[in-house]
Subunit: 351 residues, 4 copies
């Protein structure tokens, strides 16, 4: 018996009744370290739902159905080795300050994603809390910062897919630094707080755009990621579209290019050759979100429209898995020194 086995890692999840928290728990329940007992699921906390059973919110998490949600407080979250935060933005800093520096805090919210305080204040209308290592290991330099980290900012779902879709082309300088992204998302990206315009009756049978014109809060995060790769400011037109499905994002990313499709695909294949979760599709195949449901995979198709002189990259992820909780668990694995892919799969649930 190893020392590891004698001192299991204790994990708390704040915001366990929400979609991000639920997905973190779903992945932890399938994590090999949970199966062998070296990882324990400790406190599950919530705001208004404290006192109710986890099963009343997440009946799909059958092994934890009888767990009672506790209040989200420093006391409740204390005494854990890892704390996942799935809270409304602006709420993470207080826990980050109060919990020991050795506690691995993985923030699924936005608070520590942006490094530029002005960007933060412009888009979030509140004081900037700072920035943490960015939980997208596939970006150049990111994996190193996550290994052994104790504070991690999980990227937004749209920045995850958009950045991975465009990173190789932008980093290689084969596109002009002006990109257009239209990303179609499932409804879970809007969270679980009840709103009339997110009712099933409103969402089903209809698509709608929202946050048009650069006002969506994920815009500065995408710009931050791509500009760092380009070494210059990248202009981004980002439009999110809500589609009638629970999960998944499909991002269509276009940028002016003079390179050929073969050239650019070669750049992508090289960039992602060793990435366990990023799959560049062969020529002629196009991705669908249904293929990545519940998985941590990113599927990317690279196309050049020679008539239009445009690179068109289409990429899909599951917004709750790779786009939130999967990225969070992948980052946790790096932080704890576990195999990066532990508990994560490239196999989706389809149809």
């Amino acid at each position: 018996m190893t020392e590891h086995a004698r001192e299991p890692i204790r994990i708390a999840v704040a915001g366990a009744s929400g979609y991000a928290g639920g997905e973190v728990l779903r992945l932890l329940l399938g994590h090999p370290s949970y199966a062998d007992g070296s990882l324990l699921i400790g406190a599950l906390t919530a705001g208004g739902s404290a006192g109710s059973s986890l099963g009343s919110h997440h009946p799909h998490l059958l092994p934890l159905a009888d767990r009672i949600l506790e209040d989200t407080t420093v006391e409740t979250l204390g005494g854990h080795d890892v704390v996942f935060l799935g809270l409304p933005h602006g709420n993470s800093a207080q826990y980050a300050k109060a919990l020991p520096e050795s506690t691995v805090i993985i923030d699924c919210g936005a608070d520590f994603r942006l490094s530029d305080a002005d960007d933060w204040e412009r888009y979030y209308k509140s004081p900037h809390a700072g920035s943490w290592p960015y939980g997208l290991p596939e970006l150049p330099g990111a994996r190193e910062k996550l290994t052994g980290a104790t504070r991690i900012a999980v990227p937004g779902c749209f920045p995850t897919v958009s950045s991975l879709a465009l990173a190789p082309a932008v980093a290689a300088g084969v596109v002009e630094p002006r990109v257009t992204i239209v990303a179609v998302t499932g409804a879970s990206g809007a969270g679980r707080a009840p709103k009339a315009d997110l009712l099933g009756s409103e969402v089903m049978g209809s698509v709608r755009a929202y946050g048009v014109g650069g006002v969506h809060r994920h815009t500065p995060e995408i710009i931050q990621n791509l500009s760092a790769l380009a070494g210059e400011r990248v202009t981004v037109s980002f439009t999110p579209v809500l589609a009638p499905m629970p999960r998944g994002i499909l991002a269509t990313c276009t940028a002016v290019t003079t390179a050929s499709e073969d050239e650019i695909r070669a750049i992508y294949e090289k960039a992602y050759a060793d990435e366990p979760f990023v799959h560049v599709l062969p020529a002629g195949m196009l991705p669908q979100t249904g293929a990545v449901t519940g998985s941590n995979a990113v599927q990317i198709a690279v196309t050049v429209d020679a008539d239009a002189g445009q690179l068109v990259v289409v990429a899909v992820i599951d917004n709750l898995t790779k786009g939130t909780a999967g990225g969070a668990v992948q980052s946790m694995n790096l932080a704890l020194g576990l195999p990066e892919t532990a508990g994560l799969s490239t196999v989706g649930v389809a149809p």
Copy 2:
């Protein structure tokens, strides 16, 4: 009693078992000229489905449920004043030649949409049949050509929404002649021929891109429309995306601009001020396809992303109504001298 009442208009629908044919019939059943007996629904024809009842294909068309589908032949279609064609492309020319010149033929297919033979042959891999007056009355000059016409090419669904979304800006020269269109569509746009990748199990819970990279056949039609307005070749990057819903298209159209949102909205409001079916939304409202289900309306939101220097126009239609059969009936009304809006509505069925 007027002469009109004594000699009702007889209408035939070829391809009545398909979605375009069914939607033409749905609209005709609600047409005031059908209600007053001045418009009769004559032969309903089909290919492989000939001999079966219309009700077995379209149980929603209850008043015609017992009608038996006939074979699509020149003989069956002859003797009608108006013939709607909802046939696979390449099949319309034979009926156009064989039917009298006085018969109003309204082709819901692609055969007579493109004026450039090279474009046709490149995208459709077959000889060019010619071009007919284009059934999109809202484009400059189009309405005049449709009034009293006896041959009408109904536009494709994507070109309908994309052209109306961009026409005012392109015609006014306030955008660069290079546009990016990502259009999310419901599944009925793919027609009713059974294919495994269009099964409900495949379509639900998933979005996917298709025809990426300028290869979709609606691309040259969009280029044709926009270039005529611009007076120069407009470059178009067009990506269609399939969403899990039966009907509706939402097109997100972006182009570089230096004009302000107010300037451009004023251009749109002026351009569409007298159009009964095109509605420019007030600032701050964004369209959803569910609001136009079953209606002939076009709802358009005009936004400028000043940071990105981009005009972002989001427009919605019902692909089967304004995008196909509604445009066809609107064109029929013009051809026959009926009120243009007869039998068509701006009221959708929602939620």
Copy 3:
């Protein structure tokens, strides 16, 4: 010009921001008396949404999009000839008392549906307000009471479809007075108040039962209707199931029988021979809710499972149209002496 034309009927809709109110307005916009100006849409009122535009709630009602919602008060509703009430239960009686007896009040809520005060109090936990003529003209004796009525209780959506599905068999005494009904409904039946378990993410990709075990409030209403027809207490096991679609109910109704399918179908065909909205499907055809979307039609399939000794009737309606607002407008037509079918259709919007 008739006197009628000089004094148009003024209609108010209370609860206009909800689904029932919106559907009433959709139907009124297509009513021939609205088109000819003899019917005017007056005050539109709401609770918390007062002050906002109708278009912000119902963007599909384009001709009324700029109307501002007023507070629901006796003053606002006064001065109209017809008042539709789409209010939470328990709120209708106050308006019924305060408005003149000559005002036609059509209550889409439950308050005046049940004649038995004990039933009301058991299921609604509040004092019984009384009972009004029941807005289901197809039930024996109902049409007469609705003609010229000034107070009308619109039936619940489940009782509408269930009662019409079983009435002929129960009235003819060809089934035992013990029926089982499982009714699958779209999400709009639950209304528009935001609740987490009705979010699109929860509803899509999932079906669930609710109100199991006779506790759903529509149960006593179904029993009331069927028992009146049977002349004895009919036992009803009723289970509603929520399906991922906005509209539609499909009710599967079973009861023990010794009669043959042909015998029973003949009873149904005779019972509904003159009903404009009820369609008994030919043998071998089964109904789907998609065929009645937006229409006032009821489609019914009659089957006998000889092995099981059971009659199985499957019936579909649109819960918002025939199940609520369509039944309301049909009743209004009877109350006002207009043609019963005016503004209502048997043609659905499909696919």
Copy 4:
């Protein structure tokens, strides 16, 4: 290193391009014996799709995407220790005869489910092939027959959920032997062969009944299971309903009872106390199919409608997992002496 590790189990899947075959592969990819190399995925075969890549049919099975499908022949399937058959009915017997008796053959089709030849011939219109141990370990006596078996008939999806929903009550004799089952299913239950009435446009936004009146082929299988438990012929009225979702079945099962809800729930809790996949919900909770998506769980709610004198049991499964491939893998585990739950989960993917 154990002997087991030196001689891995080789598994073939016939019909790998279909939904059943795809789901078997999804589960095998997550099986711990696949992870440790003691279970190998060998030949993947198909009919018309032979020669194409698995990825072109199942892009969600990323680790196997490049595998090429072979023809389904005795030669291809030979040389494996386990063969899963996902073939149209009537095709399994030939492989069962030709393959060695020691090969574990697990038939996801219907061929060997019914023990009564007359039942088979009446419902399937072909000669009876025989009957095999029935792959529903939770039925009394079934688990013993599956342990070490080399021929296994996987139950139909509707019989799985219906039998488990009713078994405890029927076996205990607390209901009359006449049951009514209405089961709402996702579209994948109809398989992947392209048919117009299963197109996404037809399925979305609509529910429909099919196989009404006892004609569905799963009816005799349900009767067989329940009658064996009751010790007398049980009469079954079974109606399947197609709902707009890819996966999941919710079965509402009613039967006359005089017992109380508490009595019957106690019977269920006792019957399933040791079953790893069957979960009896606490009073007041009702199941939803979304909670079991991708999992092997069965969630059951037990309710008594005292007014109606009826037991109403509502149960959910994923039709592709517990209803097909999960039941198949569970049976395989028993046949091979592996832990019964290996590779199977009670955690669903939601929302």
